[in-house]
């Protein structure tokens, strides 16, 4: 019995001491930005830096092509920083790899927000990956700008996700524009769909069905963890589809081409913009056989879309700016369409940062993006940001690939979600960059 009491006393003593020490607020640090916004300094902004973060698939099945996007953005930021930054602040750009795995995205975004204390997220890539963190970012009130994905969830409900903004044309309008082109130019084609099995596929299918619902004979879906697409291509072939619309990441463009060759299946291919870069696909397929995939580019004759001028448009003023930036600040490799994508997003961010004024706040930059109208910018179609829609570029044009060159087949077509009609609108396609290559946006009123 005596041992009982001694032990009891010791335990009780320990607990009391522990509680006292903890109650004295043992070195608790104030939690970062989420609950109170009475912090004197905004998170991620100091007198001379502004820190932004992004998650990209630097490894894994989506890395081909997409891993180049942040290198382009970094080059443009280096260019801006070398010319004094924005309002005297240099832009610090932290990129973390998530391997196109939503679970990793969640962990890594946690790091960016809580450990690296970024001011905003910029251009985080991926539909399945970013879906995992969009609610977290909004509840932590972190501006989630220009998500590198075309899912409509980044902007169709600003009340639910006030801090998130898309940038590229969403998959639904891309589906609509592609669907309308097919209905007009290939009304008798039997259409098969090759879709990624997530919101990318869902949104694209919705858009396409609005125009060619009756022409679709087969829908084949793949999951991005599984590189065996033989069952899907075989099913498409068995259905007799002579035109296949592919909404997929570049590795699956290569895989679908390979399997089709093995099965001797030769439909007409129409790939969405995210998976259609001819140079990348060519290099992915380059080693495959000593002669079978030859010198002729495998995507020759394939249809796709574009919404920013590509690396093949060497006489375009924007492309010349990007080439200049890359020559000065780019690291390994040459300028590619993915690097241009990164630079265009970076350009939009600089515009937003300038519009947010001399002392940007998180709320301030969100308001500024909502008002981002039609300042000169690289996209071929105007932005459609407003208080009711956080979706970005409003349209694109259909092109056909001839070697590495994209040959336009239509003017710039713009539309919106749902039943909104498709119109022609060349207004944003004709502008050029300012002489310095850095935007000159006035702070939003």
């Amino acid at each position: 019995m005596k041992r009982w009491t001694k032990q009891m006393t010791r335990i009780a003593g320990l607990i009391t001491v522990g509680a006292l020490v903890a109650a004295c607020g043992a070195g608790g640090r104030p939690s970062s930005g989420s609950s109170s916004d009475t912090a004197a300094a905004e998170v991620g902004i100091t007198k001379d830096t502004v820190t932004v973060g992004a998650t990209f698939p630097l490894t894994g099945v989506a890395a081909p092509g997409y891993s180049e996007i942040p290198t382009g953005a970094q080059a443009y930021f280096d260019y801006v920083n070398a010319n004094g930054g924005v309002n005297g602040r240099k832009i610090k750009y932290i990129v973390r790899d998530d391997g196109y795995n939503p679970t990793t995205t969640s962990e890594v975004t946690n790091e960016l927000v809580l450990k690296d204390q970024v001011f905003a997220m910029l251009g985080a890539l991926g539909t399945p990956t970013h879906s995992a963190v969009v609610d977290f970012l909004n509840s932590e009130k972190v501006p989630d700008l220009f998500v590198s994905s075309g899912s409509i969830q980044w902007g169709n409900d600003p009340k639910a996700k006030p801090y998130t903004f898309g940038w590229q044309p969403d998959y639904e309008i891309e589906g609509k524009i592609i669907g309308q082109w097919v209905a007009k130019n290939m009304p008798d084609a039997k259409v098969g769909l090759f879709l990624q099995d997530d919101d990318l596929g869902v949104d694209s299918e919705k858009g396409v069905r609005r125009y060619i619902d009756k022409q679709i004979v087969k829908v084949a879906k793949y999951t991005s963890g599984n590189t065996d697409v033989a069952p899907q291509i075989a099913a498409l072939k068995a259905s007799g589809a002579d035109l296949v619309l592919g909404f997929n990441v570049p590795a699956y463009t290569a895989l679908s081409q390979l399997v089709a060759m093995k099965l001797n299946y030769k439909p007409k291919w129409f790939y969405a913009n995210i998976g259609s870069d001819p140079e990348l696909i060519g290099s992915l397929l380059s080693k495959f056989s000593e002669g079978a995939v030859g010198k002729v580019n495998p995507l020759d004759g394939v249809l796709t879309t574009e919404y920013i001028p590509g690396v093949d448009a060497t006489d375009n003023a924007w492309v010349q700016l990007w080439q200049k930036v890359w020559d000065k600040h780019g690291k390994d490799g040459h300028l590619t369409n993915y690097r241009i994508y990164g630079m265009s997003e970076a350009y939009a961010f600089v515009q937003a940062l300038q519009a947010a004024g001399k002392n940007p706040t998180r709320k301030g930059i969100v308001d500024a993006v909502e008002k981002m109208g039609n300042d000169a910018g690289p996209p071929l179609a105007p932005f459609r940001y407003s208080a009711d829609s956080h979706l970005g570029i409003s349209g694109m044009r259909v092109v056909q690939l001839k070697g590495l060159v994209a040959d336009p087949l239509t003017p710039v077509l713009v539309t919106d979600l749902g039943a909104a009609p498709i119109k022609e609108d060349d207004s944003a396609a004709k502008d050029g960059p300012p002489a310095s290559g850095i935007p000159e946006v006035k702070p939003a009123g």
């Binding site: 109650a23 043992a26 939503p102 679970t103 999951t223």
Partner: protein
């Protein structure tokens, strides 16, 4: 519960191991409160991760160390727990209370664990390793296949539950701090860990634990002594599955998503690394192993970057360290870190008792 069982429960309460473990648990709770209240939110998140890894590793070390069944599929069992929790917490306005969610995760995983355990009970050595390896590789595919209900590649998102009023008040009373979402999860994880470790330690010291060890050491002798070998094996597997289910449930909340990509083969292999490092059968070793799994990657990646390796290559240093650890520990110190230290200590205290077999060193 029968009267006999109840009587023996009272008897249990009087015996020392239970008291010792409960006291250990209480001390652990105090330490947890002290530490969690004094670190940044990012570290709290890391501690939450360490908690759920610790629970899973604890269950696995008991299975492998005490019962001798090598399972490479505990990542898949964690997936079962995680998806169960995610199904209940996904897109729901008024989610069920957290203890209910956790309990359900455990129960569902126990059922799956029972099925797997029955199949595994008749296998040994490389066969059970291969079969559980196949389970670990198959799990992401299963989750993708039932994509309509389980969210497919995108998975099911889980919103961070809020701390119930009484919990927040209690914490404020003790520590004068508020409870953020991350801190609440860390508490949930660590309280779950303390409870499961106390239970595991008790099982380990009880007759059930001795049965498991007997089955591990010599099947034929155990059978002759009247032990139902198959049933003992299944029981051990079920207990470790329960731990994996709880760990998965906590993981779903900490990572805020349950998706196929969250449960790759590397997860199961990491759990094994933690078990081997800490020493098969040692719960304290399980904690050390979980700590290494949580904190080592960043440290090693930083080291790689300062040595001049690229970002992506530095990220591979952590798995390299895990693999080298497994290889070196087996070759040089089969008892794991904790086991080797403990044996050295024991040898110093009584120099004439040397372990007969290095593997017996490992299994305590």
């Amino acid at each position: 519960m029968s009267r006999v069982a109840f009587g023996s429960l009272i008897g249990h309460l009087r015996r020392t191991p239970l008291r010792r473990n409960l006291i250990g648990g209480l001390i652990g709770l105090v330490v947890v409160i002290l530490v969690l209240e004094s670190v940044s939110p990012f570290r709290q998140g890391q501690f939450a991760t360490m908690a759920y890894l610790g629970i899973a590793v604890g269950g696995l070390t008991v299975l492998t160390g005490l019962n001798g069944q090598l399972s490479l599929g505990h990542g898949a069992l964690m997936a079962v727990g995680a998806y169960t929790a995610a199904l209940m917490l996904h897109d729901v306005d008024k989610p069920l209370p957290l203890p209910v969610v956790m309990l359900l995760s455990v129960l569902v995983t126990v059922v799956v664990g029972a099925v797997v355990g029955v199949a595994a009970a008749r296998l040994h050595g490389p066969y059970i390793a291969g079969a559980t390896l196949a389970l670990a590789v198959a799990m992401p595919g299963i989750a993708s296949f039932f994509g309509d209900n389980l969210g497919g590649e995108q998975g099911l998102s889980v919103s961070t539950p809020e701390a119930p009023g009484w919990f927040a008040d209690a914490v404020y009373f003790l520590t004068a701090h508020d409870v953020t979402g991350t801190k609440y999860l860390a508490y949930v994880g660590w309280i779950g860990l303390i409870i499961s470790f106390v239970l595991l330690a008790n099982l380990s010291a009880s007759r059930v634990g001795r049965t498991w060890r007997a089955v591990r050491d010599d099947e034929a002798a155990a059978e002759l002594a009247g032990i139902n070998v198959g049933r003992a094996r299944v029981k051990a597997f079920v207990v470790s599955a329960a731990c994996a289910g709880l760990a998965g449930g906590v993981m779903a909340m900490v990572v805020r998503i349950a998706a196929p990509s969250g449960f790759p083969l590397t997860l199961s292999l990491s759990l094994l690394t933690a078990v081997v490092l800490g020493g098969l059968g040692s719960l304290f070793g399980a904690l050390i192993g979980a700590a290494l799994l949580t904190f080592l990657p960043q440290a090693v990646t930083g080291l790689g970057q300062s040595l001049g390796l690229g970002d992506l290559q530095s990220a591979q240093l952590a798995p390299l360290v895990y693999g080298l650890t497994l290889v070196l520990v087996i070759l040089l110190a089969p008892a794991g870190l904790v086991g080797t230290i403990r044996n050295a200590w024991r040898r110093r205290q009584s120099p004439d008792t040397a372990p007969i077999h290095p593997q017996q060193e490992a299994m305590q």
